[in-house]
Homo-oligomer: 197 residues x 2
Amino acid sequence: MTTKEKILDTARILFNEQGIRSTTTRHIAASMPISPGNLHYHFRHTEDIVIALFEQLKKKYDKMMEEVQELSLTQLDDLVPVFDILYDQINNYRFLFIHFVEISSWIPEIKKDYQQLLLRREEQFKNWLDALTKQGVIVNLADKTREGIIKKLFIVGDFWISHNALYKQYTGDEARQDFVSTLRSVLSPYVNTTKAK
Amino acid sequence: MTTKEKILDTARILFNEQGIRSTTTRHIAASMPISPGNLHYHFRHTEDIVIALFEQLKKKYDKMMEEVQELSLTQLDDLVPVFDILYDQINNYRFLFIHFVEISSWIPEIKKDYQQLLLRREEQFKNWLDALTKQGVIVNLADKTREGIIKKLFIVGDFWISHNALYKQYTGDEARQDFVSTLRSVLSPYVNTTKAK
């Protein structure tokens, strides 16, 4: 692991545990420990660290979406491993999701980037739902229904963790199961039950 | 309107427009205008204002839920006026929803209160979905399905506004319609289509 990677990992954990307001570059340097000067050589501002972490997450998302496109799905439960990976990513970068609106006002670059990411993602999800229909996993979807499913997948995917922080505060396996079953339940009404098995 | 009510209204609008971090009791007093001393006579800390606004919203929610229980619903679209009222409430207090996790860490009283509110709400929603089934509006729901619907209603209800702020940034009627149709789409797969009309 390079110093840069170590800084990002330390920052991610501190942001997750202590929030984005009370974590400064000084705290990050102190908890590694490296000198503030060394940290500033790699990242000048806290914003630069947040942007680099957002980029990390984006790459992981893109990789996951590529893998999903290649999966051959025969039933809804074949998606559970994908939701599992998604859960790990969201949980590892939870500060981003919990403070998403705040971060996007603070760092306009992230806002713009995330909008473009969601636009791309929306197209990918459309193709992916169409493939699930063709494979007989889910029923034919009207355009508006498909749009609604994608919107719910986005909202549940991005904000389940905030809902959980406010309400049940599940941790560990309970949290993972709740996340997976909530996402699954967005699709389950559309399972093609007439499919020959 | 009493001074206290005017303070709350001014604070709510400033919180919505400028966020919770950059809005101080000093700003609120200045934009009314009243003296800081007068404001402090009514509310000692920003926290006290946030708590009072949360209480306002809670009362409005409770009133709305009572009205919903009394509605005689014959089809899913009879719920649209309820979602409309909900939209107005969420939009009027959007700072609470956008910064919900942050506020709940900052003010533990709100966290505890909101958990109890959701517990109560979960029971109300269960009864309400059962009533919709009895009235033939939606099909019979397995316990787990009903639980999933309620969770999705909570997540979409509380976080649609954050999702919108990050993605489409709809305003006015477009925002309202998108909110209503997304909430409606949580229930639409369960409409009882065999019902005699």
